[in-house]
């Protein structure tokens, strides 16, 4: 009993610490990569290749004055960054980073909790994350923030439907919600990857997930060229950083879930499972950065039209075709 609690605590600490480090270094990774795409160098002064830049940034932001705008709603204004930051971190709990291993005669699963509603849990947390943006937009009492908050709520609702429906086909084949089980079904051979069985679902899922995490080309809620900084216009210092890091946390979570659902998660030959898992996650993070560095932003009406008239029907067609193939 005590030992299993101890193992759980260790797992939580390791995953949490690893995730935090990943968030910090994703900011560095993105700035360097976007710089290379744009023929610049990016941050390379603090530490070797700029590797200490995230730590320097964190210190800079921590020492800024955490003021509250005078006409804002103080409670909600403070609460919003936390709501934006926490859900994507919680979602990692159901993503397996390796197969079950045996330590001193005990079977230890390399994930924090194998919920049998796994993927639904991730979606539910994603839908809570919207509140961070909406509350920030409303409580700031500023027109740019409010517009950002409005846009985010509309965008999230539209793309959440696509996100949920895009994996239904996969769930029909897998017959389970548990991400650990889905990964296990894909181990063995590359051809077992659900990407090959559900390619359309993968693209729809990844596009919707990108929209959910407010990344370019879907970063309408912050759209710096029209809304100053959107929902976090009024936020200073570490509170702003929480939104910023929340976005990165969301990216990492999405990359982990995508790798697990469609690309076999930790499974792979020769290398240890955790290495395969990280390789796949970093590959998706790179795609995120690559898309950001190369694509222009959608216009707002295009965004909504794309969500409802392209993504939504395609997900339904995907479900229909999957069903047909399974029955025939």
């Amino acid at each position: 009993m005590l030992l299993s609690i101890f193992i759980d605590v260790v797992k939580v600490i390791v995953v949490f610490a690893g995730f935090m480090i990943m968030i910090a270094y994703t900011t560095w990774f993105e700035r360097r990569m976007v710089a290379f795409i744009q023929s610049r160098l990016g941050p390379n002064r603090v530490g070797p290749a700029g590797l200490l830049q995230p730590i320097a940034d964190a210190f800079k932001l921590l020492f800024k004055e955490p003021f509250l705008p005078e006409k804002s709603n103080k409670v909600l204004f403070s609460l919003a960054p936390m709501i934006a930051f926490i859900p994507p971190i919680l979602a990692v709990a159901v993503v397996p980073i390796g197969d079950t291993i045996t330590i001193a005669g005990r079977k230890v699963e390399l994930l924090i909790s194998d919920l049998n509603i796994g993927i639904l849990y991730v979606f539910a947390l994603g839908s809570i994350g919207v509140y961070g943006l909406v509350l920030a937009g409303w409580s700031s009492n500023s027109k740019y923030s409010l517009l950002g908050g409005l846009r985010s709520s509309a965008q999230m609702i539209s793309y959440e439907i696509g996100l949920g429906l895009s994996v239904v086909g996969l769930l029909m084949i897998a017959q389970t919600f548990s991400i650990a089980e889905i990964v296990r079904q894909q181990s063995g051979s590359v051809l077992n990857w659900y990407f090959f069985k559900q390619p359309v679902a993968f693209f729809l899922f990844f596009i919707c997930a990108m929209a959910e995490s407010n990344r370019l080309p879907f970063d309408l809620p912050e759209a710096e060229s029209e809304l100053v900084a959107g929902y976090h216009t009024e936020y200073p210092g570490m509170r702003f950083a929480l939104f910023f890091l929340g976005e990165y946390a969301h990216m990492i979570t999405v990359s982990m879930v995508t790798a697990s659902l469609f690309f076999g998660g930790w499974s792979g030959p020769f290398l240890p499972p955790i290495v395969w898992f990280l390789i796949k996650v970093v590959a998706f993070l790179f795609i995120y950065v690559w898309v950001r560095g190369t694509l222009p932003r959608f216009r707002y009406d295009q965004l909504m039209r794309f969500g409802w008239l392209v993504i939504f029907p395609l997900t339904l067609v995907n479900i229909l075709v999957t069903g047909l193939v399974m029955v025939l």
Binding site: L76, I117, L120, F123, S127, G149, L150, G164, T176
Partner: protein
Amino acid sequence: MSMLIFYILAIVAVVSALMVVTLRNVFHSALFLVLTLFSVAGIYVLLEAEFLAAVQVLIYVGAITILMIFAIMLTYQITSKSIRQVNEQVIPAVIIVLVFFVLSLVTLIKTSWPVSNKSLPGNNTFEIGRQLLSTYVIPFEVVSIVLLIALIGAIIISRQDGPSRPGQEDR
């Protein structure tokens, strides 16, 4: 332990539900509604109905309440107004609610609630799906049709242009 958690969740749910109907700022009411729905999801988890809990959060917290908040934010300066939560029919309302309360209390006490000895199915999500598409397929489909009708109704009401509405040409 689980009893303690239940009471905490129940108190949060009831208190925030009261806030929803008494606060004068419509935005705050919507946020307390989120808290209520969230506590109910917690109670579902306590009852080992994880699927219901996840769907509760996904649909009610993530979609329906967000839609309400969206509508509130779109409405010009509605959040700076202090709304009235009662009107002149408060006395009849109280009487009816009291009658209903007594009625449900009596029912609650008098009914002998059946307790099943069967253990929970290991994967109750699977079981819910199976039941919905076999035993309860007709209610399930009827509900879908009701939702579809509501959807079409909403589209017809919100539709302003197009040749199908003859009264609109002179705009």
